[in-house]
């Protein structure tokens, strides 16, 4: 019999080594998240998965599960915090959903829907972030980058290519491409790479397939992200298998 902790009043069993997030998803309890991906080591940067553990706010994706923890997640205070985080991400980049081919399949957008975010508010920054369309098959639209490092992790840990990295600090932090020219065409990225599948927003795009899914048939048209995240989890060490969170490999 495994140990349990309490999540919003329900007992959640866990295996040794699991995080609060992993155990919660495995038990069918959703905690909102953006930079967490079940196939990768947690990053703990987006803070969408912040919960209260015995009264202290912690990132549930990095918090090791322990017997007897009292975890609160679906409470007004934390959902208001999550709403503000999503709003800040929208105000910081150029997230113009009507022209984005990831619209309907975008996790940031889906979280905004699920948290009933009607507007970003704040002063929009409208940063100037030119595209990289140099690669024949792949487009990079940096306007939408939320710095989750999933592509960095996938390219490094799974593909063994280190095509992507984050450079700069604070508000100047940005995604870069590991090539002398700084252009994607001068890397060895391939359409079959894991890095092509994990972007939660619309930065890394296959060319010539945009808008192929009609409105109504896109992933988050069917049901909200809170209902679908549970289908993705858990996947202990079945990285090569199916993954609803990943786009289909070409």
């Amino acid at each position: 019999m495994s140990d349990t902790f309490q999540l919003d009043g329900a007992a959640v069993p866990f295996e040794p080594g699991q995080t609060v997030m992993q155990a919660a998803l495995a038990a069918g309890q959703y905690i909102p998240h953006l930079c967490y991906h079940p196939e990768f080591k947690p990053h703990g940067s987006c803070k969408l998965c912040t919960v209260k553990v015995n009264g202290r706010t912690m990132a549930s994706c990095t918090m090791p599960a322990e017997a007897g923890l009292e975890v609160e997640s679906d409470i007004d205070e934390l959902n208001a915090l999550r709403r503000t985080l999503v709003q800040m991400l929208f105000a910081e980049g150029n997230h113009f959903c009507p022209s984005c081919e990831k619209s309907g399949n975008c996790m940031l957008q889906a979280l905004g829907y699920d948290l009933e975010v009607h507007a970003a508010g704040f002063r929009h920054q409208y940063p100037d972030r030119p595209l990289d369309a140099s690669h024949p098959d792949i487009l990079l639209d940096f306007n939408r980058c939320i710095l989750c490092e999933l592509c960095v992790r996938a390219s490094g840990e799974v593909d063994g290519k280190n095509v992507f990295a984050l450079a700069g600090r604070g508000i100047t932090k940005h995604l870069i491409v590991n090539a002398e020219s700084g252009q994607l065409k001068d890397t060895n990225i391939a359409l079959t790479d894991k890095a092509m599948q994990v972007c939660p927003v619309g930065v890394i795009l296959r060319k010539r397939v945009g808008f192929s899914q009609p409105i109504g048939a896109r992933r988050f048209d069917a049901s909200p992200i809170s209902a679908q995240a549970l289908q993705d989890a858990p996947r202990p060490s079945e990285a090569a298998g199916g993954c609803a969170a990943c786009e289909d490999a070409p």
């Binding site: 997230h95 113009f96 009507p98 905004g112 009607h118 507007a119 409208y126 972030r129 409105i215």
Partner: protein, 179 residues
């Protein structure tokens, strides 16, 4: 309800798509008109906004006239609603925000191939464009936002009926859209 609510609507730096969506509430316009009457709106062609209960503004702020109209709405409307992507985050017109305005005007009116004796419009009746396009909430206090490009007629109906009945408007899955 003894007295009908007064609603004003306008489109600033928008495409009137959101107003088309307002018309898309279709036959429900009749029960709506039992509850409300329209002040300034493209539907009534009234040119200036009087005291209203609800103001609905489509489009962002891209020129000086937009600022005046928006302030008139804020001054006269108890509740101000930003409707659609452009009103909420600048939308399509704001895609020029990372470009220099004079470079935009020069390319469109002077250097674009096919223009003969082109000149940048300078009639004093034309409102001056702003350096950047702004969402409404950067200029006045906005009370509610209905996202979408455009929001569906169903979303507008849900939002307005929630608001008129005194509830906090909620859209929920299927009605909340940013695209």
């Amino acid at each position: 309800m003894s007295k009908k609510l007064r609603i004003a609507t306008t489109s600033l730096a928008g495409c009137f798509g959101c107003h088309m969506s307002i018309l898309d509430i279709d036959e429900r316009l009749f029960p709506l008109l039992d509850l409300v009457e329209f002040d300034r709106s493209p539907i009534t062609d009234i040119k200036h906004c009087g005291p209203c209960d609800i103001g609905i503004v489509e489009g962002g702020i891209c020129n000086a006239e937009n600022v005046h109209v928006l302030r008139e709405f804020r001054k006269n409307c108890k509740v101000l609603i930003a409707i659609g992507a452009c009103a909420i985050n600048g939308g399509l017109p704001a895609q020029r925000n990372h470009l220099d305005l004079s470079a935009c005007l020069t390319e469109v009116y002077l250097t674009e191939p096919g223009l003969v004796h082109g000149h940048i419009p300078n009639d004093p009746e034309l409102p001056l464009p702003l350096d950047k396009v702004h969402p409404l909430h950067e200029v006045v206090k906005v009370d509610y936002f209905i996202p979408g490009c455009p929001p569906s007629g169903d979303a507008i109906w849900k939002f307005l009926t929630d608001l008129i009945s005194g509830k906090t408007p909620e859209l929920g899955h299927g009605l909340i859209h940013y695209d």
